[in-house]
Amino acid sequence: MNILRIIEQLSEVDADVLGRFDSRRAVFKTLGNTAKLGALAAAPAFVSSLFQKAYGQTTSTGVIDVLNYALTLELLEEDFYKKMVAAGKVPTGAPQGAINLILKHESAHVKLLTDTVTALKGTPKTNVKFKASAFPADYATQLAYAQALEDTGVRAYKGQAGNLIGAMAGTTSLLQVALQIHSVEARHAAHIRTMRMQAPWIPAADSNLPAPLGPVYTGATREDNVMQAGVDVTKLGSGYSASDAAAAFDEVLTMAEVTDASRAGGLIE
């Protein structure tokens, strides 16, 4: 147990480690007092509070922005499914079961993200509603919008993963949390797609569908893309069809693309 060794190791990755403490002298004075009192058992708690003071406030606003962006989409989805349930067009049985399960998850995501933003001392986004005038009257179109929202969610979370590298809330990796939401959105998307008699994954042809679906599958990187990290996927192995190559990877949408009026941005009240 060696506090000096800890600080030495920290200094290898964070040159400013000592600058983060109130002052170098204060740290060692307090440490000395702790040792003098023989309160060795209290040392872990002391070290914890020391580092909390030094690093506790360093969460960047970038991370809060990303979380509030995710929260905006979750609020939009939650309100959409609430409207869908309230409209009363979802057939009883399996369809109602599926929509209620998805709504339960979106509400859980809203709560989780709201609590996380609050814990990070940010102001969580509230009061995002699905535009009433855009809400479809018939069940088939409602499902098409559900597909658009879920596949948008999949693409949107993917687009932010890089901004969450190393982001933590306490001991929790925010990147991992985002990934754990992201794959649930993909499960939702797959099921909604099958409710619409579509393949659970995104075929290349979907990039050419009319709105509201088509724009979801376009953007700087369209869903019919076959180039991954500089590799032409159709030329791998003994060759793959462009359709399989496109469907094997879901693509990203940027924040600007998602919030554009042609996509989710145009569905917010």
């Binding site: 506790g56 989780l112 990934l179 797959a190 659970p200 469907a247």
Partner: protein, 241 residues
């Protein structure tokens, strides 16, 4: 906050500080966490662990980003081999649509395998793991139910594996590609689950009812779960280190 990611990998997560050299990213796991303080102190000891020791005949996935890529490559090899067999000898009780969809899934998994192989060989020459030999003796490929049960295991495991490994990638481009793959695995998982029981695509057995989170598992736990399907002994202990 600490309970929002309750999932399979918690034990491994807590054990890790005992033998992991402290890095900036893992440091942030401890900052602000009283519970982590003891682990932090243990990490403060001199590094005397040695991850290079290897049992002969064991395939080590390696460390750093290439370790994570090899880990994904190992899992994709397994899935691709499984679906190639499903496609080659489809169960008699599969419908025509199911056969068509499973041949598409087979292509997706083969693409993931071949893509990872190409990326590892290009970016980390000489670091790729060997071709693995699948062990599918426990699977009855002539029975739809047996195939679906195994497919569900593989797909849910694959999703949890990518979800748990993303945080170990340091190169944003790799993270994005992993994200592009994992959502397709989740689509497969949902499809297979719905074939077994319609509506189970994201039921409470796989998605936490309170948090709405999918599972995330640590590499060692995933490999433990998959080991019986692979002839070679896989060592995932240094993935993410």
């Amino acid at each position: 906050m600490s309970n929002i990611t309750k999932s399979g990998g918690d034990d491994a997560e807590f054990a890790k500080p005992l033998y992991t050299p402290i890095k900036r990213r893992s440091f942030f796991m401890y900052a602000g966490a009283t519970a982590g303080a003891t682990a932090l102190l243990l990490s403060g000891c001199d590094d005397d662990d040695n991850n290079d020791s290897m049992t002969p005949g064991t395939v080590s996935l390696g460390s750093g980003d290439v370790g994570v890529l090899n880990y994904a490559y190992a899992l994709e090899q397994l899935e691709a081999a499984f679906y190639a067999q499903v496609k080659a000898t489809p169960a008699a009780d599969f419908s025509a649509v199911e056969k068509d969809y499973f041949s598409q899934v087979a292509a997706h998994e083969a693409i993931h395998r071949d893509f990872l192989k190409a990326a590892i060989n290009r970016d980390a020459p000489g670091k790729i793991i060997q071709d693995l030999t699948p062990v599918f003796s426990s699977i009855d490929f002539t029975k739809r139910a047996s195939v679906l049960a195994t497919a569900k295991t593989f797909e849910d495991l694959g999703v949890a594996a990518y979800n748990g490994a993303g945080k170990y990638l340091k190169t944003p481009a790799y993270l994005v590609v992993a994200g592009k793959i994992v959502s397709v695995e989740a689509r497969h998982a949902a499809y297979v689950r719905d074939l077994i029981a319609n509506g189970s695509f994201a039921d409470d057995s796989i998605v936490d009812a309170a948090t709405g989170l999918d599972k995330a598992m640590e590499p060692v736990d995933v490999i433990n779960a998959a080991q019986s399907f692979i002839q070679q002994k896989i060592d995932a202990s240094s993935v993410g280190k």
